[in-house]
């Protein structure tokens, strides 16, 4: 009996661990950003991992704290009727990262080449061999939709003045929760006898819609807002002249996860922003987006003159509807 008590006491003593590992490697989880572009066949995923910090104030002690090392298997499965139709392996894709906050030549990006279908289930599986760990997520890809207005750039010019705001109409994309509406403005920069074509994206709105609009969603472009955004996006340079070429109009539909992410970003709510994820056993966002675009709209003469001499954009030195610049 005395031996038994002694053995139990020895067992209890040995099983007690007196050191607490404050930097527990097993506490790290994968951090994933993967937005599938349904209009492209190249799909990228960024993989990093969480690290220990205090009130999100301390940067990681070394780059090793952010990179998932060792063998990692990343797969995106196409699922239809509960059957896996195809498995697409994402392979390490070497990139030379610029000198950002965490400059590193270590592996961050994985890529795969496959064509996506609309309204189809895609399942992401990340297997980290060294951790004996699996993180996963799934999304329903977005349905097709149409950009209704503006249309027919061959015959219609856009009038960008506040007497009649241009309207953007688009139909609903199934499974989408957010839409971004914007212009891609093409212009020429002329310095002496040299000219260079340039483009700039003007994002006009981010709209969170889930309801069925019936026919289509509507966004009315405030012309002053457009010129203001354009003036904020193009640097003033008095040594050159600019000539408007044309503009493309686009609508990007985003999945529920992107909608939630953008919403949190817009509200500037750090708790909602950091807490949001749609990955099991991980942090980050897995989603998809789809773009509809109509290219090559001219703007009418009155709008060209407003671009050249309007209060917001006159310093940008755009030529007017006659191809002149009056100072």
């Amino acid at each position: 009996m005395r031996y038994l008590v002694f053995i139990v006491l020895m067992g209890l003593t040995w099983s007690c661990e007196t050191e607490i590992d404050v930097v527990d490697e097993s506490g790290s989880v994968p951090v994933v950003y993967c937005i599938l572009n349904q209009d492209d066949t190249i799909h990228s995923l960024r993989l990093s991992r969480s690290y220990l910090t205090k009130n999100a104030q301390n940067p990681p002690v070394s780059i090793d704290s952010l990179v998932v090392k060792g063998k990692v298997n990343i797969t995106i499965e196409t699922v239809e009727n509960s059957q896996v139709l195809s498995e697409n392996r994402l392979l390490p894709y070497p990139i030379s990262k610029d000198s950002g906050f965490f400059p590193s030549d270590l592996q961050w990006i994985y890529q795969a080449n496959f064509k996506m279908k609309v309204n189809t289930l895609y399942r992401l599986i990340i297997e980290i061999k060294d951790w004996d760990y699996v993180a996963y997520s799934s999304i329903q890809s977005l349905g097709d939709f149409d950009l209704v207005d503006p249309g027919y750039p061959e015959a219609r010019k856009i009038h960008l003045l506040d007497d009649h705001n241009p309207l953007i109409h688009w139909t609903r994309s199934q499974n989408a929760a957010v839409y971004q509406v914007g212009f891609r403005v093409h212009f020429k920069e002329i310095r002496g006898d040299q000219s260079q074509d340039k483009s700039i994206i003007i994002l006009l709105t981010t709209a969170f819609y889930r309801n069925d609009p019936g026919a289509f969603y509507t966004y009315s472009i405030n012309s002053n807002f457009f010129y203001k955004r354009l003036a904020e996006s193009i640097p003033v340079d008095n040594t050159l002249l600019r000539q408007f070429i044309n503009t493309d109009v686009f609508v990007i539909a985003g999945s529920e996860s992107i909608g939630f992410y953008l919403n949190a970003q817009e509200k500037q709510d750090p708790f909602q922003f950091f807490d949001y994820k749609n990955l099991i056993n991980g942090q980050g966002v897995f989603g998809s987006c789809k773009t509809k675009e109509t290219k090559g709209f001219k703007i009418d003469d009155q709008s060209l003159d407003s671009l050249a001499y309007g209060s917001y954009t006159k310093q940008l030195n755009f030529l007017d509807s006659d191809g002149h610049r009056k100072n």
């Binding site: 503006p150 219609r156 007497d163 009418d300």
Partner: protein, 144 residues
Amino acid sequence: MKSLFYAFLTLALVACDIIDITPDGKVNNPAEPVGTLVADFPITHTWLPTNKIIRTDLHIALNAYEMYKGDYIQSANVIDSQQKYSFFLPPGSYYLEASIACLCEGDSCSAGGFPGNKWGQKHASYTFTIVEDETTEVLIRFLK
């Protein structure tokens, strides 16, 4: 305490948006008087399917010469799903210019009365008068 009261009173007076109301109770709006033009722009055609004809232009000019030069005072962004377009204008006489384009392939557009083939356009112009606080309606039609 009294100085605090005056400070609040001053702030309240400065912050108030004073509205100028005329003796007969109307708000005195410094903006110039306007009337409304409603341009009714239906798509109709005798020989061509109407879904192959689109509205392309709808402009208001001060006179025929300005209209000819393309110096419009207002323009609408015409679309397929909207037939009526409103313009708010000071009282006076104006010119309206509207155009449509044909989208048919082959020689259907020219056979249907449009100049040229696909993207051939027809134009129509009207004069109208705007009276303060009244609505003038113009029905746009194109020659066959």
